[in-house]
């Protein structure tokens, strides 16, 4: 049982490049979340999903897209990366009926 995993752990992008961050969970959780964490700030919710095939916007969705084609995977895409998207990205999941979220180890993204 690996819990929540994130791929890659670290990535450097140039402005304008695109990339996809992968979050995978093997706990059969319905809910999945993408957050970003910036220095001096807590976590901010980017997008979330309440089940396979569903997605919804969070607090800071601009510049990101997500997909949840399979229950266990939640993808976060950056179509045209900007330096303002330099951050640490966390994925989390939780089962229905339990409010506690389980976090992945984070992906550090640097956009030059």
């Amino acid at each position: 049982n690996a819990g929540v995993t994130q791929t890659p752990k670290f990535r450097v992008l140039k402005t304008g490049q695109s990339m996809t961050l992968l979050c995978a969970q093997d706990m059969n959780h319905e809910y999945m979340y993408w957050y970003r964490q910036d220095p001096g700030m807590g976590l901010r919710l980017i997008h979330y999903s309440v089940g396979e095939g569903t997605t919804a916007k969070g607090e800071v969705p601009d510049g990101y897209n997500v997909s949840r084609l399979k229950k266990q995977n939640f993808l976060l895409g950056l179509e045209s990366a900007a330096p303002s998207q330099t951050s640490v990205y966390f994925c989390a999941s939780r089962p229905t009926g339990l409010e506690t979220q389980y976090f992945g180890p984070g992906t550090r993204l640097l956009v030059l």
Partner: protein
């Protein structure tokens, strides 16, 4: 709007002593949950303790306990018998979409 405020950016405690981290919040919901998460230098987010708003009894997990004052919208974390491994950022978070405070950096002095 839901908000979470942690008014102590940094705290320090001597090993084996007790420290309390403060958190206040605002929400219009009647049913909600509050959490304390710990983030050590490894960056992994680790759940420390959770509290359901409908429960009057304060949650306790080993050396960690909370003082939940619903009317005052206060949710403080008490760490007893502090250990070096407790050094980390501590975040207070509110309810299902997890509105986060800015965190408190806790240093534990040997």
């Amino acid at each position: 709007a839901q908000t979470v405020t942690q008014s102590q950016p940094e705290m320090s405690v001597q090993e084996a002593e007790t420290v309390t981290l403060s958190c206040t919040y605002d929400t219009s919901e009647s049913d909600y949950y509050l959490f304390w998460y710990k983030q050590p230098p490894s960056r992994q987010m680790i759940l420390v303790i959770r509290q359901e708003a409908y429960k009057q009894q304060n949650a306790t997990e080993n050396r960690f306990s909370v003082n939940f004052q619903k009317a005052a919208k206060s949710f403080s974390l008490k760490i007893s018998d502090s250990q070096l491994g407790d050094a980390a950022m501590y975040f207070c978070a509110l309810t299902r979409k997890l509105i986060w405070g800015l965190g408190t950096s806790l240093a534990v002095n040997p």
